[in-house]
Symmetry: C2
Subunit: 231 residues, 2 copies
C-alpha cells in the first residue's frame, strides 16, 4: 500500500482552518493537525479544534503550549477589550488590537519543526487576504518570504530531501466562497468556533471582527450558520 | 534621561550566546534575554543562562517553554546518543544528529514576538558559521531570509514604526576570536555551560561537538577554560 503524503495543518478550530484541513484531506494528504494554546482568552477554540480534527479524520492532532500571552500586546491575550460592532481595521484605519505579535510566524515555525520530523515539507495554513482583519502575517508576500526562509532553515530542505511548501488554499477566496467550499467538502461547521469574545459560551457574540467576517461569509453563501441557529 | 534602545537577546547559556549578549550590552542596548526550555536533555544550560543574564545585567530574562522534544528528531531532545570524539559533521559528512528541527526559526519567531511588544526590531543571536556544527539555521543566508520574512510579518514593521534587524556579531569569527572577544568584554566564562551531554555535572565531557568546538576556541585564544580547571 502506497503511503499517503503527509502534511502539517495548522488548526485553530475556526471556519477557515477547518476548511483548510478539509482541502488538505481532499488533496490526498494524511493530515497532522497542530493547534496552539498560546494564552488566547477565547479558549473555546481549543475544544473546537479537537472536535474538527476528529471529525475530519486527522492522522494525528497535537496541542502545543506557547505562552505568547506573557509578552502581551494583543486584545486576544491581554486584558484589552475586543473591538465590536464594525470591522476594527475599518474603524482604526490599520491593523487592529486583536493582532497577536508574530503569531503566524511562531505557529509556522513550530509546524516546520514537526513537518521536518515527519519528513514532509507540506504545511497548510488557512490564511486569507480578502475578507480578513488586515493582519500582516496573512498576506501572500509574507507567506512567500516564510517559505523561502524555511527552505534555508531546515536540514531536510538544505540536503534536498524535501521541498518546503506553505499551502494557502483560502488566500484568494471571499468569506462566502470559503463557506461554500466548506459545505462542498462536508465540513460540519457546527463544530467550529470563531468568536474572539472570551465570554462566548460557544455561540458567536455576533459583533467582534471574527463574528462579523463569519456572518458575512454565511450571508454571501446564502446559508444559515449552524451556530446562529443554536442561539 | 534618554531611554536606552532595547534588544531581545537569545541566550542558551553557552559561550557564544553569553558573548553575544555582552556585545549587545557594549553597543548600548538594554538587553531582554530569552532562554528556551525546549526539552533539551542538557538542561544544565538553563541554570547557566540564568547566571549569565544576571552577571551581564540583563534588563529582563524570560524562560520560555516550548516542547520541541514532542516532535523528536534530534539527539539533543530524544534518546539518540550524542556523537563524541570528532566533530560529527566531519564524520557523517553532513548535518549531525544533534541538529534540532527548525530550532532557530522557532527561537527567532518567539524573539520577534517579544521584540514587537517591547517596540523594538533589534534581536541578537550568537550564531556562527565558521567553527560550527554545520546546522543550516546558523548561516548568513538563513538569517537574511528570516530578517526579510520578519519585516513582512509584524504590524510594527509593516506600519514603519520599527525595522527588524537580526544582529549576528559572531557570524564570521573563529571560536578563538569568540573566546578573546568574551574576555575583552569581561564575560565570566566560568558561568557558561556548553556541553551537550545530559550526564554532565556542569563540567564539559570534552568529547561532544559543543565541547570540541569550545576547546578549540580556548586553545586558539591561548587561555585555559575555567570549566576545565574545575575538573
Amino acid at each position: 500500500m502506497k503511503q499517503r503524503r503527509k502534511a502539517v495543518c495548522l488548526l485553530s478550530g475556526g471556519l477557515d482552518s477547518a476548511t483548510c484541513l478539509a482541502v488538505a484531506r481532499r488533496e490526498g494528504f494524511a493530515c497532522y493537525a497542530l493547534t496552539f494554546d498560546y494564552g488566547q482568552r477565547h479558549r473555546q477554540e481549543l475544544e473546537a479544534a479537537r472536535r474538527v480534527a476528529a471529525a475530519l479524520g486527522a492522522a494525528d492532532h497535537r496541542l502545543m503550549r506557547i505562552d505568547l500571552a506573557a509578552f502581551g500586546g494583543s486584545a486576544l491575550t491581554a486584558e484589552i477589550p475586543v473591538p465590536k460592532g464594525r470591522l476594527a481595521a475599518e474603524v482604526a484605519g490599520g491593523i487592529p488590537v486583536t493582532y497577536v505579535p508574530a503569531r503566524n510566524t511562531v505557529f509556522l515555525a513550530c509546524a516546520l519543526a514537526w513537518a521536518e520530523t515527519l519528513e514532509t515539507g507540506d504545511i497548510f495554513i488557512g490564511v486569507n487576504a480578502v475578507d480578513y482583519s488586515g493582519y500582516p502575517d496573512c498576506r501572500p508576500e509574507y507567506i512567500e518570504a516564510f517559505e523561502r526562509m524555511a527552505s534555508l532553515a531546515t536540514k531536510a530542505a538544505v540536503e534536498g530531501r524535501l521541498r518546503v511548501k506553505i499551502h494557502t488554499p483560502l488566500m484568494r477566496l471571499t468569506k462566502g466562497q470559503i463557506v461554500r467550499l466548506a459545505l462542498e467538502l462536508d465540513v460540519d461547521l457546527s463544530l467550529t468556533h470563531t468568536c474572539y469574545d472570551p465570554q462566548s459560551d460557544g455561540r458567536p457574540c455576533g459583533a467582534c471582527d471574527a463574528c462579523l467576517l463569519r456572518r458575512k461569509g454565511f450571508e454571501e453563501a446564502g446559508v444559515a450558520d449552524p451556530l446562529e441557529r443554536r442561539r
